[in-house]
């Protein structure tokens, strides 16, 4: 037992809780968004403290990084485009007491349940035992892409479904032609462009690293997506050579590729998504490559679609 470590973890936990509460109670929108991003970074530290570097990477990059960018971009929209927000009526005292009371009650009940939890074994031993047959050496990658690849496949599907949801909500399937707004500054554009080879290198490195250590398709995909977003911010619009059919293909490539791998297992007489042991390693790498491409591109599209929608809103169809 190390008092310094416990003290640090205790302080970090308190900080996380404080940031969460303030993110929801701070006035306006700017403070909550900034506090939420700080919350995400503090959470990433907590993941690292619990020896979950894969999760820390994913959370910092996707959960906080990408969502943070989207939130900040929304901040500009919500505070600027309409002249003044209507004055909000103050919440009544009774409502506040109710909210605080419910929170305390829920937290107490759930906290008690967590404290009363017995120590179950978990699946660490089972995963360690089968790791040798999985085709990779990193247990988290083995679970993600072999033992529970069905979950991962569907999760890549959720990204695609969410993109379809964005199309529906935005009122336009596809992307606006090359945006025409002015470049925000050549320093950003220049920096991003000169860093691009390094970013690509890091992405590929992370993908390759997933076989033996923390890393893999998600982290690599996010790095690629982030590179695209930075390029977009640096003034580089949606490229002309990305024709609609190519966009659709890139969006569904990872999901479709994994489906094909799964179905070919069926035709070979094995279970859905079952890899032959000798081919597991290369197949997982191929699946990860396809997934990285689609994940990165979809995340880029999330941002680009929202960003374009702000500048060129879909044709209003507000009649009800």
């Amino acid at each position: 037992m190390n008092p310094v470590a416990v003290g640090f973890d205790g302080l970090l936990a308190l900080l996380i809780l404080f940031l969460a509460v303030r993110a929801l109670t701070a006035p306006g929108l700017q403070q909550p968004v900034i506090l939420f991003i700080a919350f995400g970074l503090a959470m990433a530290l907590a993941w690292a403290r619990m020896r979950a570097p894969d999760v820390a990477l994913a959370e910092a990059a996707i959960g906080t990084g990408l969502l943070g960018v989207l939130l900040i971009d929304s901040l500009g929209l919500f505070t600027r485009s309409k002249s003044e927000t209507p004055p909000q009526p103050r919440r009544s005292r009774a409502a506040s007491i109710l909210a605080v009371g419910t929170t305390l009650l829920l937290a107490g009940g759930l906290g008690f349940a967590i404290l009363a939890m017995p120590e179950a074994e978990g699946l660490a031993a089972a995963a360690a035992e089968k790791l040798g047959a999985s085709g990779v050496d990193h247990p988290v990658t083995a679970v993600l892409l072999n033992f529970r690849s069905f979950d991962t496949w569907l999760e890549i599907g959720v990204l695609l479904i969410a993109m379809w949801g964005l199309f529906c909500a935005g009122g336009r399937e596809g992307f606006a032609p090359r945006a025409t707004e002015a470049r925000p500054g050549t320093v950003l554009g220049g920096t991003v462009q000169s860093l691009l080879p390094l970013v690509l290198l890091v992405g590929i490195y992370l993908l390759w690293l997933g076989k033996v250590d923390s890393g893999g398709a998600f982290q690599a995909g996010v790095v690629l997506g982030a590179a695209g977003i930075l390029l977009r911010l640096g003034g580089l619009g949606f490229p002309d050579w990305l024709r609609p059919w190519l966009v659709r293909t890139l969006l569904l490539f990872g999901f479709a590729f994994m489906l094909l791998v799964g179905l070919s297992a069926l035709f070979a007489g094995a279970a859905f998504l079952e890899y032959p042991p000798t081919l597991a390693g290369p197949l997982i790498l191929a699946v990860e490559l396809a997934a990285t491409l689609s994940i990165g591109f979809t995340l880029y599209c999330f941002f680009t679609y929202l960003f374009d929608l702000r500048i060129h809103p879909a044709t209003a169809s507000s009649e009800s």
Binding site: P184, G185, V187, L188, T191, L195
Partner: protein, 103 residues
Amino acid sequence: MTISEGVTLILCLAGAVFFLAGTVGLLRFPDFFSRLHALTKADTLGLGLIVLGLMLQVGSIAAALKLLLIWVLALLASTTVCHLLGNYELSRSSGGEKRKAGS
């Protein structure tokens, strides 16, 4: 404690002091540009000192180079962001007369 551990300790502590100073500056300085100044200068130097301190502790050259790369990238990013923030503040606060506060 070996000499290298001692040096690391001193460098990291110095780095932390710079971080602290930068944060105090961010909170206490009166206007946008002096806050930006405090933040970026202190963070750059603070991070640099901590990276230097940690480089003495890692076993391999590769790991040390990775740490160095982190610092260089952070430098690049903070310079770019600082430039963007400054530009934005300039165009926001003074509209046409960008010259005035530019120095």
